[in-house]
């Protein structure tokens, strides 16, 4: 199939609703047709150009004020249309949600982050998505709204496979909600690519909650090593409730590397990803522990 990345060959009707209600009506009207949401376009337009993704309607949600907000009062609530670069500039994100900050900073380039959105990154559901491991690690949720009502789904449950989510044809993500962080918690993000501005060979977010020198709760989330970001639940099980030590971390990294299902692809190999998983889990756990106020 031949491509032409100079143009957008597909024909579609472009709609730019000005209110959330307008957008929901459009989605409702077209739920049996093909309609797609345009936020940043950095995934959608690329897919249209490279794999001939078609759509009859394109609904631009970036001009909707209800989707353009950031609320830092209780945890973090980010509107679906907020560009990634605006999120990375929020002080609370840098200080309290460093895994998300680092995950966003690791993406592509500034221009792409000026266009792309966190909701878009989630909905595109690439196994290599960089915001997803941090969001899962923080227990984030997406709010889905339609004419029928609204529901919240954890990011972890929202993505089901490569490019697959539980979103329904008439639904729109309006915001991403991240719970407030416990003050004795720490988090970290890690990513390996061929160059810095790259799709991940492997990426990772770790969240730890500390009580004295015991890890009370933890999440270890790896991306690019399965059809979607996965939690290394057995590794987490080894860590939860235990005194954190270098030898325990060593056990955890080994377990985590056994839980992932990487593939050979153009970016890297099964062998490499499996080896590297151990290294980055170790580094991220140590950093997260330190950020949680812990010592080794």
């Amino acid at each position: 199939m031949q491509t032409n990345t100079k143009i957008l060959a597909q024909e579609f009707e472009y709609l730019a609703p000005k209110t959330l209600d307008e957008a929901l009506s459009l989605l409702d009207n077209y739920k049996d047709k093909s309609a797609r949401i345009l936020a940043g376009g950095t995934d959608l337009l690329v897919k249209m150009k490279t794999i001939d993704l078609k759509t009859d309607y394109l609904i631009n949600i970036k001009n909707i004020p209800e989707l353009n907000f950031i609320d830092t009062a209780d945890g973090l609530k980010i509107g679906a249309a907020v560009p990634l670069s605006h999120i990375e500039r929020i002080e609370k994100v840098q200080e309290r949600y460093p895994a998300l900050y680092e995950g966003i900073k690791s993406m592509a380039a500034i221009a792409v982050r000026n266009m792309g959105t966190i909701a878009g990154n989630i909905c595109n559901a690439s196994p290599a998505a960089d915001t997803v491991p941090p969001l899962i690690a923080y227990g984030a949720e997406v709010k889905l709204v339609s004419k029928r009502g609204e529901r919240t789904v954890s990011v972890e449950d929202f993505i089901t496979g490569v490019g697959k989510t539980v979103i329904r044809a008439d639904e729109l993500i309006t915001q991403v909600n991240i719970p407030e962080m416990n003050k004795n918690s720490g988090s970290a993000f890690s990513k390996k690519g061929r160059v810095k501005a790259d799709i991940a060979k492997i990426n990772l977010a770790v969240y730890l909650e500390r009580e004295d020198n015991i890890c009370k709760d933890c999440k270890i989330v790896l991306g690019s090593v399965a059809v979607k970001a996965i939690r290394a639940k057995e590794a987490e099980g080894l860590l939860k409730g235990q005194t954190v030590s270098a030898s325990l971390i060593d056990k955890i990294t080994k377990k985590a590397s056994e839980e992932i299902k990487p593939i050979d692809d153009i970016r890297s190999s099964v062998e490499y990803r499996t080896e590297i998983a151990r290294v980055i889990v170790e580094d991220a756990v140590k950093i997260a522990w330190e950020r949680a106020g812990g010592e080794l």
Partner: protein
């Protein structure tokens, strides 16, 4: 396919156009407004050659629908100089041998001006990180970094 009416400002000039829904901003800028400083490098957001400023922020025109710029302010490389007076960043690129084939240059300069607006005195690492999405095959980047440094607050203004 219906045409969409858009009204926007480009390089300070108010412009009204009818565009198809699937028309890309890069093609409007290049083929209808004849501002060919906006270059096609890859079409998929990987090289930065098509960078323009929308409301002051660097954005990739190859992945932007023309319809989406309604009500916005666009700056292309042609809009940087004030008449005959070059923008300091343009001068710095010339003086620091930061221009070879020149194809990446418009995108580089625009991104660099946005960097200094946001961070007037960046470290070398910060410059490199901000510019990492603008690919250059000719220069190896070092002279570009030096050009940007020379424009920064307290930057040395003589060439290397």
């Amino acid at each position: 396919m219906k045409k969409v009416e858009i009204e926007f400002t480009i390089n300070g000039k108010k412009t009204k156009l009818f565009v198809k829904s699937n028309t890309l901003l890069i093609n409007v800028i290049r083929n209808e407004l004849y501002l060919t400083g906006d270059k096609y490098g890859c079409g998929i957001g990987e090289c930065g050659a098509c960078t323009v400023l929308i409301n002051g922020e660097p954005v990739l025109s190859c992945l932007t629908l023309a319809a989406d710029v309604d009500g916005k302010e666009i700056t292309t490389i042609e809009g940087l100089a004030e008449g005959d007076k070059l923008h300091p960043m343009q001068k710095a690129f010339l003086e620091n041998a930061a221009v070879q084939c020149g194809f990446c240059t418009p995108g580089m300069i625009l991104t660099a001006t946005a960097l200094l607006k946001e961070n007037p005195n960046p470290t070398e690492d910060e410059i490199k990180d901000y510019m990492r999405g603008n690919i250059c095959r000719c220069t190896g980047y070092i002279q570009i970094v030096k050009a940007i440094e020379s424009c920064a607050e307290g930057g040395k203004s003589e060439p290397i």
